[in-house]
């Protein structure tokens, strides 16, 4: 009995964490119809990803399984599911919210760590090589305007984005 009670508290705690996270607000409206999974291009080609399953596990409170697993990173962000959900669950955004929580807990895929560094260092997610900068004038493109890296860093420091990376290093 005690176990059951504890389990129930945990369930609510995790869905509470998700609904209070930006993007995660609508998760509790899900009634598991599966429209999302049948609209999902990724679910059609791998059994490692199923949006309905991610929502079910999250609502059941399987926090570690959801946050530490591969699955939440396999969404291709096409928004098909969100467009078609009869309950207006913002499924793609819920997955972003879960990724944000995972990041906060230090579950950070290397690729995303690299994205974070690029944005912090260059203000861009893809670096523009010297070759490309020089190529511009030879093909008749105007020179690139300066990037607002300084302003961006102020924003990153205000949101704590610049410290998120350290969570991984401190793991």
């Amino acid at each position: 009995m005690n176990h059951e009670k504890e389990q129930k508290t945990t369930n609510l705690a995790f869905s509470g964490t998700i609904t209070s996270q930006l993007g995660g607000e609508t998760i509790t409206s899900c009634y598991q119809c599966g429209t999302c999974a049948s609209s999902c291009p990724v679910a059609k080609i791998t059994d490692k990803f199923n949006p309905r399953e991610i929502i079910k596990l999250s609502l059941l409170g399987a926090k570690e399984e959801v946050l530490s697993g591969d699955s939440i990173w396999l969404c291709c962000s096409c928004y098909n599911c969100q467009e078609r959900c009869p309950q207006k669950v913002e499924i793609a955004d819920v997955i972003y919210a879960l990724r944000n929580i995972a990041f906060e807990k230090g579950y950070i895929p290397n690729l995303y760590s690299e994205f974070a560094s690029s944005v912090t260092n260059d203000g861009r997610i893809a670096k523009i090589s010297k070759f490309m900068e020089q190529k511009r004038s030879t093909i008749g493109l105007p020179p690139l305007q300066p990037t607002g890296v300084e302003a961006l860093r102020k924003i990153l420091s205000a949101t704590g984005f610049d410290k998120l990376q350290q969570k991984k290093e401190g793991m």
């Binding site: 993007g23 291009p41 990173w73 793609a92 944005v119 893809a126």
Partner: protein
């Protein structure tokens, strides 16, 4: 106010000058003035949204603030940038609490989001400011008989509630603009399905499977080329064909052209002036078909 603040983003200047060049030339010919503003940054696309949504909204809003200060609406070429910026613009205009939170962050960078401007993809500008009929009249080299498989990419259409661009299940704007060039916009299986671009780097095998499907379906439908609007879709489908060749031993040789490149050709701009060398799959087949080689 005339003209648009051009939001160039990262992938286009980093890898696809052919996109920027053709868009600048075609839009100038059609009387759309582009203004290059200083201090723009990354748009904060899905990879940044995945790390922290509040940060991504703030970065997108910061860039919109630059356009607001210049008293210009914003135009994007990249569909991904369009999604990040247009989504943020709508959310912050409609949600006062969120706007307050974001403005508190932006104040550290000396900015305040006003919500006074629009973010538009250039396709929208072509449709609304120039008009399909007028484009048709401006064409000097119609792309007659060219069968084009249009692929708008996911983030031009969805989430439709925030982007408000076209019907998310039965879009027509892109196809109309292709036909305005004298070409035929063809139907093909799973036309609106994702190319897998955002899975590249994390799950390459899945990304490649999705890209391959698009190439199989457009080839079966008899397309002469695929037309894209997003630099990521372009990369996935153009360079992706080299990876598919090495992984699946299959060769499609399907040229992929951004809409702005087709538009430029139809407006009479010489292909040599459009930096075609940035295509991995060469575009001669398309030029031959429309008598421009």
């Amino acid at each position: 106010m005339s003209g648009y603040a051009l939001f160039l983003g990262c992938t286009i200047p980093a890898r696809q000058p052919n996109y920027e060049l053709s868009a600048r030339k075609a839009l100038a010919k059609l009387g759309i003035e582009l203004v290059d503003l200083a201090n723009m940054t990354c748009c904060a696309p899905p990879p940044v949204q995945s790390i922290d949504l509040e940060t991504s909204l703030s970065i997108a809003a910061y860039n919109i603030c630059l356009a607001e200060e210049a008293d210009l609406n914003m135009i994007t070429l990249c569909t991904g940038c369009f999604e990040s910026l247009a989504m943020t613009n709508t959310m912050l205009k409609e949600n006062g609490k969120l706007r307050e939170d974001v403005n508190r962050i932006l104040s550290k960078a000396g900015k305040e989001f006003q919500g006074s401007k629009e973010v538009k993809h250039y396709l929208q500008v072509l449709k609304d400011d120039v008009g399909v009929a007028s484009i048709k009249q401006s064409i000097s080299k119609p792309l007659s008989n060219l069968k084009v498989a249009s692929f708008s990419g996911c983030h031009l259409l969805r989430p439709s509630e925030l982007l408000k661009f076209d019907d998310p299940e039965r879009p027509w704007i892109f196809d109309d603009l292709i036909e305005a060039l004298g070409a035929k916009s063809i139907e093909y299986r799973n036309k609106l399905k994702c190319c897998g671009g955002l899975l590249r780097g994390y799950a390459d095998d899945l990304a490649l499977k999705l890209a391959r499907e698009k190439l199989v379906n457009t080839t079966k439908a008899g397309a002469d080329c695929i037309s894209t609007l997003c630099p990521f879709c372009f990369l996935t489908l153009d360079m992706g064909q080299l990876m598919i060749k090495s992984k699946f031993q299959e060769e499609y040789n399907m040229p992929v052209l951004h809409y702005s490149e087709l538009l430029s050709l139809a407006l009479g701009i010489d292909a040599k002036e459009l930096a075609p060398e940035f295509h991995k799959i060469k575009i001669y087949r398309v030029l031959n078909k429309v008598g421009l080689s």
